[in-house]
Subunit: 190 residues, 2 copies
């Protein structure tokens, strides 16, 4: 059996990467979503190994020391990270594995795993992204302004990726990601 | 407007590359097939600029001297080649251009145009290729044996290509080529 391929899927907040990915996962049985690890408490209904791998701070830090994460970061006092072993296990079983992750984390993985296929989702324009973030109506204008500033920085990393999907039309963006998965299965590994 | 991308489509005789390509061209309006030049006489119904660019031997040799071909070869006393200018014109107009070509010619283009995306069509196995070539019933067993020997040499070049499509199932092979075209439109050019 051929091993699967590792995909990293990222992009600024508000570009719709979660929506694209959930629809692609629903129709690509060969593709598995990587499960992140966290030290935060499980919320009601969250299942260990499905939504997150829940672990104690000591356990997480021990894994950091043993270089067991593809990437990790600390947000609001909790650790979040991508354990490498479950990813490698699924690749060895022949599944493709995709990580949905922040741009900074994606850049960490890019260094650690040059075999990872890097996919970036971009908004059609900064103006459109601004409209979308304001349109959500769930955040203060200060928070939206901060997200837009971060998006601008993140967009400057686009050229370091293998593929950029401009999410102008959801159906087209879904078709783009599916085409990338399929094409990469035909790709000659050097 | 973004320039189009150049695709080279090749593979041993009998792998079905012509069938795959004609079906993909029928549903990809952004894709244009490159027209070859030749010094052989036009057959009935063949139109200049559609089936071939027909030219005299002097004209062809003059173009060779001026390095006007992406690749060229001589078969049975006639020249065949791919003029570079019409390809560049269509790319500049934003069309993707695909060349269907013999493996040796593909390797020539690979050296001359490192931007070309190289796609190789392989049979599921040598046994299956042998069955297909014998099944055609149009050639002597000596000719089929010669084609199989040539296919074996050509298959050894697979690893120098960007993509390999194994033509086990025609529908899947068509979907593979379409996915490669679509994915390459998202690909970041370095």
């Amino acid at each position: 059996m051929n091993p699967g391929k590792l995909f990293v899927f990222t992009g600024p907040s508000g570009t719709g990467k979660g929506t694209i990915l959930s629809q692609v996962l629903a129709c690509e049985p060969q593709l598995r979503l990587s499960v992140s690890a966290t030290t935060r408490q499980p919320r009601e209904g969250e299942v260990n190994g499905v939504h997150y791998w829940f672990m104690s701070q000591a356990e997480f830090e021990n894994k950091i020391e043993h270089d067991a994460f593809l990437e990790h970061a600390c947000y609001v006092g909790n650790y979040y990270g991508t354990p490498e072993q479950p990813v490698n296990d699924q690749l060895a079983e022949g599944y493709d594995v995709i990580l949905e992750i922040e741009v900074q984390g994606a850049m960490q993985i890019h260094k650690k795993r040059p075999d990872a296929i890097m996919v970036f989702v971009a908004p059609p324009s900064m103006e459109e992204l601004s409209n979308r973030l304001h349109g959500r109506g769930t955040e203060s204008s200060e928070k939206v302004a901060a997200r837009l500033a971060q998006a601008e920085t993140e967009l400057s990393h686009q050229s370091q990726f293998d593929y950029v999907i401009v999410n102008d039309d959801l159906g087209e963006a879904i078709a783009d990601l599916r085409a990338i998965l399929r094409a990469e299965r035909c790709r000659v590994v050097r």
